[in-house]
Each structure stands twice: as structure tokens, then as C-alpha cells.
Point group: C2
Chain length 162, copies 2
DNA sequence: TTGCTCCTCACGTCACGTGAGGTGGC
DNA sequence: TTGCTCCTCACGTCACGTGAGGTGGC
């Protein structure tokens, strides 16, 4: 028999999820994301739909969560070992909770990044002024702070780089 | 003599920068961010203005850069070992380049996060529909995919969690 | 059958975490 | 002088990176 219907081998699965074989094997070891089944020879076969799960794990990592925390958050699926499916209301409640937590993290990160973007804009603006200024860099690394021309301190992103 | 003017010991510096002592010592070891000076007894004294540099390093890490890449990007300050300051135009050019690269990364991340936010919204919306649906979870972990009620496949964030 | 993909160890690395044991500074 | 902060090793951990040596699958 060939590849199970609608399944992917680890290489294609990794490519679609934007990651690599080592990472997938590590996730499996942690119980985060396992292949649906294995071939006779040990090849992993992943569900096509689980690419979404893989992407979610990666996105949650980018939001700063550790893999253990991610494991708890996305542990919403019925346990295959237990017979008798859990109450539906319980499942949907856990899924909702995971989605809301994810949304909270995303919103907070967007806000932080928008503040960063404003700061960079300010710094780029001030840099134009610096280029037209007669003051030269001093010995220390925070020269021109506060700006000896305007009396205002430098934008943070210039203090960081000057 | 006491603490040099306008300087912070490592604990306060870490607090203001949202990090800890171990991380600061590691950054120093890599040459990323060093204290302005040391006390007789070895205590590190950091410039107050370098809190901005610390925050920038942390923000660049959150954007997915490795410390080595961050080191190259923010290496814009005149080398204290070399005598004679480098041409001003060269410094401002490097600062501008670092700021523009940072802006590029921020913009890309915001776009990605906004797409994620839309997906989560979609999934939360669909979840309301699922709660009113008579279908129950099956054995496998991608039941209801494609949704057996509407014929549409589930939003990705539901495939990931169901 | 050939080449490409995959397998399992197992050691290495990056960015810190976490004490142990000792000393500095207002 | 007391307590709090800081110091330097040095081993541990998390999330992989990177081969070595071998086998599976269309």
C-alpha cells in the first residue's frame, strides 16, 4: 500500500509548515504534534489538515510562548486513549479559550510593534536634522544627548545606535 | 567615590530594560552591550541612555533575529579603540540603515500578525455555528473537515485545535 | 535497480537558568 | 556593622543544528 489518503511525508509537511524535519521530530517527542500514522518502515505520515496546527505552534512561538505553554494551550483535542468522546460543550469551551488567549497575545504584540514603528519613524526624522548639524560625535557613545542644538534629548532609537 | 554620574548598577539597569542579570552578562560577553565602566570591586555601571539600546536588542530578538545578526545591525558606534573619529557621514549612514532594516522587520511582522488576527476572528465566528450544530466530534482529530453542514472546510485555526 | 527521502542515535550550539561560594557598597 | 547587591565559575536546560551510518518507497 502507498501513502494513506490525504497524507504527507515529513518533508512535504515541513515545507508547507515553513519548518524542518528536526523540529517536527522534536515536536512529536514533546507530544505537541504527531503524525497520523507510520509506514511499515517507520516513515511518518502527517494529516494535510495538521499543517494548520503546525503553523499555529510556530506563530505562538513567535509570540514568545515556550513549547510547554503552547502544549497546554492547544491541548483541546479528544484523548484518543479514552473511550467515549468527551462532552461537546467542554471541547468547544477549550477551543474558544485557546482562541481568545491567542487573540489577546496577538493584540498586545501588534500594539507594541506599532509603538516601535512610531519610534523608528521619529528617529529617522531626527536623523535628517542630525545630518545638517555642525556637532560631531564625541568620545562616549551617547554624544548629542540631550541634543546640544535643541536642548531635547535624542529619540530612544538614536540613543541606542549613536 | 560613589556611582558615576547618571549611571546604573546592573540590577536597576536590568529592571528598566525588562530583563535580568544573566542576560546582561551574556550580552557583554558577546560584545553586544557593555557597561560604561566598572567599580574598583568589579561592579558594572551602565549608562542610563543605554537602556534604549537594551530595549532595542530585546525588540530585535522578538522580531526573530539571532544575537549575532543583532550585533552586526546595531554596530554603528565609533570604535573606542581607534583614535580619530570616523567620518560623520559614515556613522549616520549606518544608523539610517539599521533603522530602515528595523522598520522593514516591524512592518512585516505587523502584517503577519494582522492576518493572524483576522483568522482568529473567523475561527471564533465559526465556533458559534459549531456550538449550534448537531454533529459530534469523531474519532480522528479533524472531524467536521470539510464541515459536513455547510460543505465548506473549517477555518485553519479550527483545524488546528479540533 | 537507482536516487531521493526518510530513519535513529548522538554530539554540538545558542541563549540563557540556576545555584554555590564569596565579596562590594551606601 | 548589617543587609542587600553584586561578583565569578560552572553545570543544567530548552529548542533545536548537524552530521554519521543505515534503510524505505514509488
Amino acid at each position: 500500500m502507498g501513502t494513506p489518503d490525504d497524507c504527507l511525508r515529513i518533508g512535504d509537511f515541513a515545507r508547507l509548515g515553513g519548518t524542518n524535519l528536526r523540529t517536527l521530530r522534536y515536536y512529536e517527542q514533546l507530544g505537541l504534534l504527531s503524525p497520523m500514522t507510520r509506514s511499515e518502515g517507520g516513515f511518518r505520515y502527517y494529516r494535510r489538515a495538521d499543517v494548520a496546527r503546525l503553523r499555529m505552534i510556530r506563530d505562538l512561538q513567535a509570540l514568545g510562548l515556550e513549547l510547554a505553554q503552547i502544549g497546554e494551550l492547544i491541548d483541546t483535542r479528544p484523548d484518543p486513549d479514552s473511550d467515549g468522546s468527551p462532552p461537546r460543550a467542554q471541547i468547544t469551551a477549550r477551543v474558544r479559550k485557546a482562541l481568545l488567549e491567542r487573540k489577546r497575545l496577538i493584540d498586545a504584540h501588534i500594539e507594541h510593534l506599532e509603538a516601535e514603528r512610531r519610534n523608528v519613524g521619529e528617529a529617522l526624522h531626527k536623523l535628517l536634522e542630525c545630518e545638517r548639524c555642525e556637532h560631531s560625535p564625541g568620545r562616549a557613545n551617547n554624544f548629542c544627548q540631550p541634543c546640544s542644538k535643541t536642548g531635547n534629548s535624542l529619540p530612544n532609537d538614536l540613543s541606542a545606535l549613536y
